[in-house]
Symmetry: D2
Subunit: 341 residues, 4 copies
Amino acid sequence: MIVVMKAHAEESEIDAVVQRIQRLGFNTHLSRGVERTIIGIVGADHSLNPGNFEVLAGVERAVRVLHPFKIASRDFHPEDSVFEVSGVPVGGDHLTIMAGPCSVESREQLLETAAAVKEAGAHILRGGAYKPRTSPYSFQGLGLRGLEILGEAKERYGLPIVTEVMSPDLVPLVAEYADMLQIGARSMQNYALLQAVGKTNKPILLKRGMMSTMQEWLMAAEYILSNGNDRVALCERGIRTFEPYTRNTLDINAIPAMRTLTHLPIIGDPSHGTGKWELVTPVARAIIAAGANGLIVEVHPRPEEALSDGAQSLKPERFAGLVRQVRAIYDLLQEERHAEE
Amino acid sequence: MIVVMKAHAEESEIDAVVQRIQRLGFNTHLSRGVERTIIGIVGADHSLNPGNFEVLAGVERAVRVLHPFKIASRDFHPEDSVFEVSGVPVGGDHLTIMAGPCSVESREQLLETAAAVKEAGAHILRGGAYKPRTSPYSFQGLGLRGLEILGEAKERYGLPIVTEVMSPDLVPLVAEYADMLQIGARSMQNYALLQAVGKTNKPILLKRGMMSTMQEWLMAAEYILSNGNDRVALCERGIRTFEPYTRNTLDINAIPAMRTLTHLPIIGDPSHGTGKWELVTPVARAIIAAGANGLIVEVHPRPEEALSDGAQSLKPERFAGLVRQVRAIYDLLQEERHAEE
Amino acid sequence: MIVVMKAHAEESEIDAVVQRIQRLGFNTHLSRGVERTIIGIVGADHSLNPGNFEVLAGVERAVRVLHPFKIASRDFHPEDSVFEVSGVPVGGDHLTIMAGPCSVESREQLLETAAAVKEAGAHILRGGAYKPRTSPYSFQGLGLRGLEILGEAKERYGLPIVTEVMSPDLVPLVAEYADMLQIGARSMQNYALLQAVGKTNKPILLKRGMMSTMQEWLMAAEYILSNGNDRVALCERGIRTFEPYTRNTLDINAIPAMRTLTHLPIIGDPSHGTGKWELVTPVARAIIAAGANGLIVEVHPRPEEALSDGAQSLKPERFAGLVRQVRAIYDLLQEERHAEE
Amino acid sequence: MIVVMKAHAEESEIDAVVQRIQRLGFNTHLSRGVERTIIGIVGADHSLNPGNFEVLAGVERAVRVLHPFKIASRDFHPEDSVFEVSGVPVGGDHLTIMAGPCSVESREQLLETAAAVKEAGAHILRGGAYKPRTSPYSFQGLGLRGLEILGEAKERYGLPIVTEVMSPDLVPLVAEYADMLQIGARSMQNYALLQAVGKTNKPILLKRGMMSTMQEWLMAAEYILSNGNDRVALCERGIRTFEPYTRNTLDINAIPAMRTLTHLPIIGDPSHGTGKWELVTPVARAIIAAGANGLIVEVHPRPEEALSDGAQSLKPERFAGLVRQVRAIYDLLQEERHAEE
């Protein structure tokens, strides 16, 4: 069970709830957000009655949660979460498209791509400044210089920036430039990093680990949420299977499963999910048709020259076609939904 | 390389081509269909020039094929294959929907379901008479009685029948009742069975093995095609991964990948692909949005009473909603395609 | 629960037990072996008391079985199963080594290999006459001629033969030549085939499917056992994973797991389990150290010329080293076991 | 290609080699260890001749390396690496056994376990002070207090300590208490952490990611090695597969594969590799029989009370049996090896 305190509940009220729970023989876990404190009851709490807590001073509501993820669970928050990334809405009825190159390679490359993806209808610009690379001998990203270039593109084209942060000590620096912090697939269970970004006030894009179950993914989100940051979007980017034809296997089942299990927005990444540019547009259509809230797509003006992920990057004109197609499918589904209501 | 003989080429012409190939030091593989014979050249044939074969008597064309699957390859047959299942077209521009219960359980259950799926817009009726079950102690299907019930439903509702055949000796019997023979996932590499159905004149629905790569799947199709039966549709039904939340992981990447690699129609199975009825409709939308030629869906009037696969079966009214939604997406994609031409 | 009838119990006694069970509201499943009939109680039978059945005429014992596999379960048969393959014991305290080429390629190749593996200490000769091949264009085995060659080798060197049978209609022919019938990994869920070999009186080597769980594997064994054939050995030959360096991943955990779950002998196949000859000997040592009852190893006098599986075949002299090493480890474990008793 | 400079080569000599390489059109990557600098040549260097570099001043040798991992490759360092962990040798001819509880839970629990594992023959004490837990609500380890308890156990029983470090900022603190730093499976691609431990002078135990290929694992080792720390042992701890019976699937093939591909010691973890205590001893025997240099085993005096991993922990008396058995197999293999020489 989780007890949600009213916004700006007083310390004494929080204390009283905690003591009540402990007197009943349970441990508590406090998540203190900027506005609101959530008290989790740890342990086999089936015997407790939410009504008995809702009468206490300062309590907004008490919710039974069957899943091991609590704050991420739709039981806890039945409505879709919607939040803004520097003015761009994510979640609920909004279709959010993030696009840009795998890595920031140069000022020219990034500005050219930013202009093109904006023109094609993207809402948020992606681009890696710090790159997790399998080999220590591969290009590791431009680092701070990459962030500065992203900052220039943001200013010039008015696109918020999403970029990866790979270690806790870099969180403050990356957060200075980024509007949304990306946690990469390899970092999904980097708990120190999850805690660090959970303490910022930046929206987070949490990629699924390539070897992670849906439950582990939601538990990773729970690390961020329970540190007080409630603006988390999940990103399905493909899982590892035995199939060698594609780089990863995009888990399309995860899209509607996440809509059921959690209130957090779900974004699909058809670029990493397939690893082959010719599969990106059809799989992007599938992701949106399955009910996702948005996409993140790798776009490069000259994929054959890309320093990383060239094989899965779209040229800008193909990306424009992708946006047109997914927009049409999204609008169709919205009509269907409204017709049902 | 593959040499395609003209329809009704003479034996002496075929012999002459075979001898020419053998004199060049290669082995041959003959696929004799009802109308046409195809001569495969086995071995490292990069040095051969197709033009040198196209001048021989009785030869229609010679095609270089890089993949290990030859007749299944789009290099061999660049246009989409389209064929009919007792009057219902499959492939190309057609959207084909197959639906029905997992198993034929009784005359009443099947007729009720057949009426409902026809009403909802299905084109072909599915239903298992011989069931592959993990346990020897589980319900194994009604066998011949099941086939007879399917035959009655076909007559009454005018729906062609697709049903599984599990062993070579049952092929003639099942083919008497079925309009399309299904090869189940567990049988995808049952080569004796593939050869047996390859020698019939029935269309085949070839399900992907739960542990099979795309290449192995196309090689299984090649077993059927090379025995002379060129009416094969592929069915993506989910692969086995580490994810326990869903019964299988529907490999959405395989849909556009198959459109690229082969000319054979590709059908998606969101019921086995997810194992949970609440994921079936969104994943069905995704399958069509990714470019599939159709769907096969499990429908049961009372899923909670089903003898098999109840958890993944849709009630008829939900299935009707699925058909409406996927039809709308399909039409949208067709418009898009025609606009491009 | 399973009710085991006494050897040669009378029909009327069997009938009486069946009727008693049915009157209690349960279905029955009869397994009629040559000597003994086993009556399985199907359904949620927790409420039944074995003692109430053991008092009936003709009943030897009644056993509660928690697993879905009944006859295969160690609950049902607590002692190790031991049986003979034409005089060679398999199971229990015996170390059984099967070896030979992947395919019978010619009389010379097979006789040469048979002589070498016998000399090196093998007990049973393996060799494929009918080969399951991914491609219809690959060498499919010598068929009947291959069986005849195996027969000649058996006569000359006194080695029993294990060879694969791929379809039900070939069971009688293969059983004429083979001392043990192999069910290949791709056929593990070919239920018609499992039933057919379950009705023979030949020992069976049941390979694990490359993406089959341990439970599915034991259920496949149950298909054979419940058809009356109780001489089944299981063969762990590697499962399919994401790792591309090896052809399969030998599941070493399955060896002790099978010793716990079932009384059936367990044999390891380090050749298919690794796909690389240089890993075969160390993995063979591991299989025996983990508690397996034996090995099946691919040996070829000239691996570089093999028509199939050359990369994973050992030369005879290396195989002799393997036998010496695994024998030493096996003896050590036997001493340890006896010291414990 | 890699150019290994002589111990204490002068800066000017290093510079000269770097400039020579750059003039030939290649980039360089410098790994500066305490004694020795290694210059990696980045890019398609097949055309270069090692002999041309070995004549330069200060160069010890130049080695062609085909794998993407360079310093980890056996081409680079053909002999087994052997190093000490506070006096305990790891690698080469030594059998090294690490044991202890999953987590340090209390002073009493740890001291009791330390005494027992020492008595049973363990060389190094394991125990987690900082625990990576899937849930933010689970016990996260005792932190600094856990390190202090480990320090006390070390002093009292003379056992060096191996314990996990989860983030770069904790490296200095953990390194104060630990004799060997463990990088957990979830951190295998935490590059900031790999770089941080690569800059320490502590031996590293690098666990394989649960869905990492062997090549990715060796690339992770390369991150540590290329930062100047050459004391890295690899730990196979099971990979994630579709099999639900065991927690992970210990990849036994990886043991001999690592012996071939790299000179680094390889340690097996049968506790995480199986997740079931009754499989731990047989799989431990298999790991050693396959050629590993040692084991890491979870031992708890009262597994049923453990705060984590109770199901896979051995009681001390069972662990003593394990040590006796693996020691016997190890000695047997050593005799075999020496007999061959």
